[in-house]
């Protein structure tokens, strides 16, 4: 960008002042002088400019009170400085950005437009300034922000900056461009006025007709009456008369109009919105072309050339941005605010090395491709579809998965696209909601993922089931107990001390989450269930108490041959491993104390054990 600086020096100093005055007089937003580049003939680049548009009010207090004029000048200089610092940073990304008085966040959209303009370069015949220079005639562009990029390459930039009117006319050794955020219909007298003001000094502009500030809704243009054009024509033809005291004005058709300059030099600049809240209405339609108004006064004929109105339904501008989705809005603002980089252009530095790539040609490939019999994207598909399954040989694969994969490859397309998406999405959301409800019903750990929720629910249900069963059988026993009288006092006393005779206590403390290993001898008994059955007629009493996996069975019944074996058998059927048996026989009554342990994974209920033993006892 060094040439930019050099170029500025070639621009006469007076020109800057004239620019300032000119734009202030007509109260437009900016003025730019595009000068013919010294380094590259046939190319227009930034010469000088003055920004007269809106600025963001600065919160910092100015050290020196400047009047409005000086403020404006200072602002323009600051903008230039900022541009230079940013472009310096761009060319050497390693270096720290040199500090400028302004930073990108301080600029309004229009200022930003002005700043980005500094990076533009036009060939003769290209872009608004280029065509102005080549034709030698002024160009007045209304609705610049809707213009096609062929006509006005900065149209998208203009759109964000709300620049609606741009005027270019050749002047001195370059082109002067003026722009404004209002829609000003064409007035060639304005251009004339500007030119005269360059020589005569400050004047006020009195318009021949009122300047309508048309809204953006209408696309009506105000075609200037041909007569006005006609009379202006004379003056247009000789724009040089008014300027004296400057460098000799060469006619626009000067040797700089070199045809056939390659297009490679022009740079379409890229940039980013710096606003805090970006507009959602950025037009991304690739082929948008609202009507533009362009009247080019030709030497030959006075008929204004204008592009026809293109009817544009503006369908493309309506975006599907879910504006009712506040979550996505926050995501977007987080993403787009965090990026502060300014990239000024896709510089492909042509270093000493020649590129491996060749320019793309439409029918580029001389040798045609061999017929591809194999699967497309073969390796990629293998990496994604097959390699992961190599790790889990068949563990995760299920017939459904395979089927789904094949279906994907077969590209079934029988579902209605839009409805499917929406209903799927609703279904997913419903499922998530239900999971949340389930979580609230189930006492569980803090984990909130679906798997844990289901796990905890299963455990809880099993737990509740156990409790219900125990409660029910306990209720039976209470009824039964009331009707029978106890026989064996001492027997009962041997049972747990925590409760009275004839009382059946069920103490169940289930704390499935506390899986600490505790000693059996400890006081904490996780599950304690006692079944008491006294049958006086048969002298059968069964007491079963369960401590975790250990059963303590106290059993008495009338003795008969082989009963001990049967008892042990019955217990082993229930997966109980008898570890110690104390037995004694008195008066024909066998009393047993058996300690047994579980050798399976599921613990049988004490009720089941009791029933089994009773069956044995009653078999006589």
């Amino acid at each position: 960008m060094a040439t930019g600086v050099q170029n500025q020096e070639r621009v006469p100093v007076n020109l800057k002042k004239q620019l300032v005055l000119a734009v202030r007089n007509i109260q437009w937003s900016y003025a730019i002088f595009w000068s013919i580049s010294a380094g590259q003939p046939g190319v227009l680049e930034w010469g000088d400019g003055y920004y007269n548009g809106d600025i963001k009010t600065r919160k910092t207090v100015q050290a020196v009170e400047l009047n409005a004029d000086q403020l404006g000048l200072q602002r323009s200089e600051q903008l230039r400085e900022l541009y230079e610092s940013l472009s310096a940073a761009d060319s050497s990304p390693q270096a720290r950005r040199p500090s400028a008085a302004l930073s990108p966040e301080d600029l309004t959209d229009t200022e930003w437009y002005y700043l980005v303009c500094m990076s533009f370069v036009f060939n003769i015949g290209q872009g608004l300034p280029g065509r102005t220079l080549s034709s030698g005639q002024p160009i007045w562009l209304c609705n610049a922000h809707y213009a096609e990029s062929k006509v006005f390459s900065r149209s998208l930039l203009a759109k964000s900056a709300s620049i609606q009117t741009v005027v270019c006319f050749p002047f001195s050794r370059g082109v002067i461009e003026l722009g404004v955020t209002d829609l000003v219909s064409e007035e060639l007298s304005l251009i004339q006025f500007i030119k005269t003001s360059f020589s005569d000094g400050p004047q006020t502009f009195v318009s021949n007709k009122s300047i309508p500030v048309a809204g953006r809704t209408g696309y009506k243009k105000d075609f200037s009456c041909p007569s006005l054009l006609g009379c202006e024509q004379q003056e247009m033809a000789s724009p040089n008369d008014s300027s004296d005291g400057y460098e000799p004005n060469q006619p626009a058709e000067d040797p700089f109009m070199i045809e056939g300059i390659t297009d490679g030099v022009s740079q379409v600049q890229s940039w980013q919105f710096m606003d805090e809240e970006f507009s959602n209405c950025v037009d991304h339609s690739l082929n948008s072309s609202d009507c533009i108004s362009q009247t080019v006064v030709d030497h030959g004929n006075a008929v204004p050339l204008s592009q026809g109105e293109k009817d544009n339904d503006n369908e493309l501008t309506s975006l599907n941005l879910p504006s009712d989705d506040p979550h996505y809005q926050t995501v977007l603002s987080a993403l787009l605010n965090s990026s502060h980089q300014l990239i000024l252009g896709p510089h492909f530095r042509n270093s000493n090395q020649e590129s491996s790539f060749v320019s793309w040609k439409k029918n580029g490939l001389v040798k045609s491709q061999k017929a591809r019999d194999e699967t497309p994207q073969k390796l990629l598909k293998k990496i994604l579809f097959e390699v992961p399954h190599m790790h889990d040989k068949g563990l995760l694969e299920s017939p459904e998965d395979n089927g789904a994969r094949d279906a994907a490859w077969r590209l079934e397309a029988d579902e209605i696209y839009g409805n499917h998406v929406l209903s799927e999405r609703r279904r997913r959301e419903k499922i998530n909601e239900l999971f949340m409800i389930l979580k609230s019903l189930v006492p569980s750990n803090s984990k909130a993922d679906k798997v844990s929720i289901l796990d905890d629910t299963i455990e809880y249900l099993q737990d509740l089931g156990r409790r219900v069963e125990d409660l029910e059988s306990c209720r039976e026993l209470t009824d039964l107990e009331v009707r029978t009288k106890r026989k064996r006092q001492d027997h009962v006393e041997r049972t747990s001390d925590n409760y009275d005779d004839n009382k059946i206590t069920i103490r169940k403390k289930s704390s499935p989450n506390k899986r600490k290993a505790c000693d059996i001898d400890e006081v904490e008994q996780e599950i304690d269930y006692v079944a008491f059955k006294d049958d006086s007629t048969n002298n059968v009493t069964v007491t079963v108490s369960l401590n975790k996996k250990d059963f303590l069975i106290e059993f008495s019944c009338p003795w008969r041959e082989g009963i001990l074996l049967e008892i042990v058998d019955a217990l082993s059927i229930l997966n109980l491993d008898c570890q110690s048996v104390q037995s004694s026989t008195t008066e024909g009554i066998l009393s047993l104390t058996i300690k047994s342990k579980y050798k399976g994974s599921t613990v049988a209920k004490p009720g089941t054990v009791k029933q089994a033993l009773q069956r044995v006892a009653w078999k006589c």
């Binding site: 096609e148 987080a334 590129s355 060749v358 491709q369 390699v387």
Partner: protein, 343 residues
């Protein structure tokens, strides 16, 4: 540069080749220069052998002398082909550690410490004990804003976010209805993923309950195979569909409607990479043996967008990486070869 295309792949002075003993798929370019010579670019190459024993080799490239140096000691075994390799990104603050870190995905996410003469396994991230969801990984992405964060995508429909410094899972999300094929970070806490269900979704770690679908493949259930997020301009993302020659460019601000479809490949596309320093350039490579560089205009013409330049390789190009450390170089992998192309 009016050379005919026939010669493009014969020009050995401008593209540097390396031939490997086995077919290659995964490839990574280091963003940290080697300590010996600051200009050297380290490249990790993962083999694709459809069997258990696979290898990852590291070679280095010197752009000054245009030469490639192999390092037999910088090599390690990997169970089955690695699905992706990636070096630790530099991030906003230059890393102070002296050795480079390489991450690989396959059955698990693994980190390897690349020293001057050896590679040591650094850690294995295996969450099978703490989660039901611990399936092999299809891809991963290293967050360059927050380099302690790596996001992985898996065939069990989940994406897992790891904190690699602590070695724990930050979070695990069920991202899609089907297998997730690729994941890409946008910002420290925002990532996007693509899946066999044909959707591109954006997730924000600050709001895990919600995700936004920003694109769905036009034929429902056409898997989207790869995703790339433009790190210079976070508005844009690129994705490729299965069996398609199109590169779909998306604007995150306008969901469901792609901003552009780059349709100049003559066969299906296998890999995409945005330019590391420019926000408008993207490179794509495919089965038509071509690597195309595209420049995205602000307004497209009526006939679609044409690429800027192209390169023809010897066979289908399976992998493409655009070097962040040396932005003038693009690495491609096809069959057994790796080539470095000057942009």
């Amino acid at each position: 540069m009016e050379n005919s295309t026939q010669e493009s792949h014969l020009r050995s002075d401008n593209s540097i080749s390396y031939e490997s003993p086995y077919p290659l798929y995964a490839m990574a370019l280091s963003s940290m220069p080697s300590r010996m010579n600051l200009n050297h670019q380290r490249i990790a190459l993962g083999s694709f052998i459809e069997d258990y024993p696979n290898r990852v080799d590291i070679i280095s490239f010197d752009p000054e002398t245009l030469s490639i140096k192999t390092h037999p000691t910088l090599s390690f075994d990997h169970p089955y082909p690695p699905t992706k390799l990636m070096f630790r990104p530099n991030g906003k603050s230059p890393s102070s550690s002296s050795s480079d870190l390489l991450a690989s995905s396959g059955d698990y996410l693994r980190l390897w410490e690349v020293r001057e003469t050896s590679i040591e396994p650094f850690s294995v991230f295996n969450n099978s004990k703490t989660s039901e969801f611990c399936a092999p990984l299809t891809s991963f992405d290293w967050n360059d804003v927050e380099p302690k964060r790596i996001g992985t995508s898996s065939i069990d429909t989940t994406c897992t976010i790891w904190d690699i410094e602590k070695g724990v899972v930050e979070t695990q999300l069920i991202a899609h209805d089907k297998e997730v094929y690729d994941i890409a970070w946008g910002e420290a806490k925002v990532f996007a993923s693509v899946s066999a269900d044909g959707s591109v979704r954006i997730f924000d770690l600050r709001d895990k309950e919600h995700s936004t679908i920003i694109y769905e493949s036009p034929q429902p259930d056409t898997p989207l195979l790869r995703l790339a997020w433009n790190k210079q301009d976070l508005r844009y993302m690129a994705t490729i569909l299965m069996d398609s020659n199109k590169v779909v460019i998306l604007d995150i601000r306008s969901p469901t409607m792609p901003v552009a479809e780059l349709e100049r490949h003559r066969a299906s596309v296998n890999a995409i990479a945005w330019a590391p320093l420019s926000c408008k350039h993207i490179c794509s490579a495919g089965d038509d043996t071509q690597a195309l560089i595209w420049e995205l205009p602000t307004v497209a013409g009526p006939n679609g967008i044409d690429p800027l330049s192209m390169y023809s390789a010897g066979s289908e190009i399976n992998q493409l990486q655009w070097s962040a450390a040396q932005p003038d170089w693009i690495a491609i992998a096809f069959s057994n070869k790796m080539q470095l192309l000057k942009v």
